[in-house]
Subunit: 366 residues, 2 copies
Amino acid sequence: MSLILTFLGKGSINRTKIAIAAAKLLASQGKRVLLAGLAEPALPILLNQTLAPDPQEIAPNLEVVQFQASVLLERNWEEVKKLEAQYLRTPIFKEVYGQELVVLPGMDNALALNAIREYDATGKYDAIVYDGTGDASSLRMLGLPESLSWYVRRFRQLFANSDLGKGINESPLIQPLISSFFNVNWTADNFAQPTNQVNNFLDKGKAALADPKRIAAFLVSTPDPIDVASSRYLWGSAQQIGLTVGGAIIVSSETNVNLSEEFAPLKLSVVPDSPTGDWQPLIDALPNFVEQAVQAPKPIEIDIHNRQVRLFLPGFDKKQVKLTQYGPEVTVEAGDQRRNISLPPALSGKPVAGAKFQNNYLIISF
Amino acid sequence: MSLILTFLGKGSINRTKIAIAAAKLLASQGKRVLLAGLAEPALPILLNQTLAPDPQEIAPNLEVVQFQASVLLERNWEEVKKLEAQYLRTPIFKEVYGQELVVLPGMDNALALNAIREYDATGKYDAIVYDGTGDASSLRMLGLPESLSWYVRRFRQLFANSDLGKGINESPLIQPLISSFFNVNWTADNFAQPTNQVNNFLDKGKAALADPKRIAAFLVSTPDPIDVASSRYLWGSAQQIGLTVGGAIIVSSETNVNLSEEFAPLKLSVVPDSPTGDWQPLIDALPNFVEQAVQAPKPIEIDIHNRQVRLFLPGFDKKQVKLTQYGPEVTVEAGDQRRNISLPPALSGKPVAGAKFQNNYLIISF
């Protein structure tokens, strides 16, 4: 199991520099590191190295990979075909080549997340440093296991209770028809199997995100007020998807940066704006990532004894945070992020007794 | 019909400043302008204005809207429910509230594109300036009509020819079953109707993208070499989705910028790095957007007479451009973008007779 480290912030060249320095730092500590970046020129130019869609070693303990959505899609397509062949008697997808598939919006994110999951599962790396887009889209990506699992649990139940869902299970006409096209008897149990597989994946992703020793983000900003405001917004948005933010890294040529209040209670590291290629001053100024991530506020705390859920939502004021309960779950909205809170059985389904927003915490009582 | 203008480049605060200046310039020329931005703090801080998910007038001829994916999803959900109710006898989705829906990766892009389409269709605006993410993800968004229409035409045909597809049309058992759950007889014709509706949408989107008087992008860069390389990469990638890039805007405090070669044959505008709030120097340095977009190289030219297709692919070298023909169409790969070229009947299905890459053009002969 690797530590997965990523960076959030507006200045993308600074973010990429910090990601490189972090990868070098961890590798120098003897950790086996994979630095993963996107298909664009900044990372290869800064590393002075051609990159490929498969990891290549560029220094002791340090490998680099460039995620290319087209290549990842092509590789995953083979898996999709196998899955189809398992279920459908006469597969359709087998006639489509991975090499002709076009990337649609959102696929980049889903494919990159899946690639990180696979590299993590190989056990070959102690740390994966992901140099992604560092913006709201990165948060959608890391929030995918939780958001997708909400869709699965919400719609699966509705489908099972619907006329269509019941019809498939109960109609004497449907089963023989289905077995003429599918390799499986489409009973409730068989239908549950693939969704259970998916849920298992998603649960692992959610568990990893909830553990700051497994996945953590750090903010990267300059002292520019717009940059600071954007970083604070990303900080709050990260909490909304359950991602721990371990600290703020301020890139500045002046060491006397006064931004403690803006990012309290996070620790600040001031890193010099070093010329390209001069990595050591950056590396020396970096924080201890795991130590800080473990000490940082947890995005969510569920206190069953006191029947309370506490959500840390920095960067938002009271008016920007909304609590509703339209569906079967409690929905929290802040920034442009909506989160349905999956509660443990002791609190699940209970009506909300009260809610208050103070000191950056939304406290919900049941 | 509006002119839809957007900006590509790495420095997101510069990009947002240029978008604001462009909106102000067009409004000052008497055009009715909508400036559309994302849910994050840079745009409201630069405008010194709270923004909302509905357009508000901030100056004569100038309205601003902030796209919030959660709000857009909520509004679109009502349309999805109506569509479901048209087809399914006992709708399932009606029990799910728009207010509990979570945004998944890719939805931000699809929802923003749809919102732009709707604002365009109102006829209320002569120009829509979209301040998006300005990166590869923006290109996935603008390329969506073409990429999605490929999926529709490829998979629809395969499904119709498959055992499953034929079964649905021919089996005497299936029709009565379907009519017990659905409001329509699921014959081939009826099945075609919703996909035709979708195709109609997509065709309109493709036609708009192909017309530089309707949709154009401009590159925004600083003279920093990494920034320049990233902009060139985005330029080539934009050509791959069929988006016209009308020119390059270089933000620099020095007027003597020597980057003509890097962006040739595009025209360069050097815009000062103006302090926040001082818009006039920026506005004065902006190009004539439509005039330049019309003169810029077309991403694709199809010459039926000479049986040639010419694709303009700047920023890539010969090794980065790949031409394949696995499926029924010609596939061009460059950067991390794959494009299946939908050819007119005169060339469609013809084998490729030759291909060469010279002067930034991929020339395919049939």
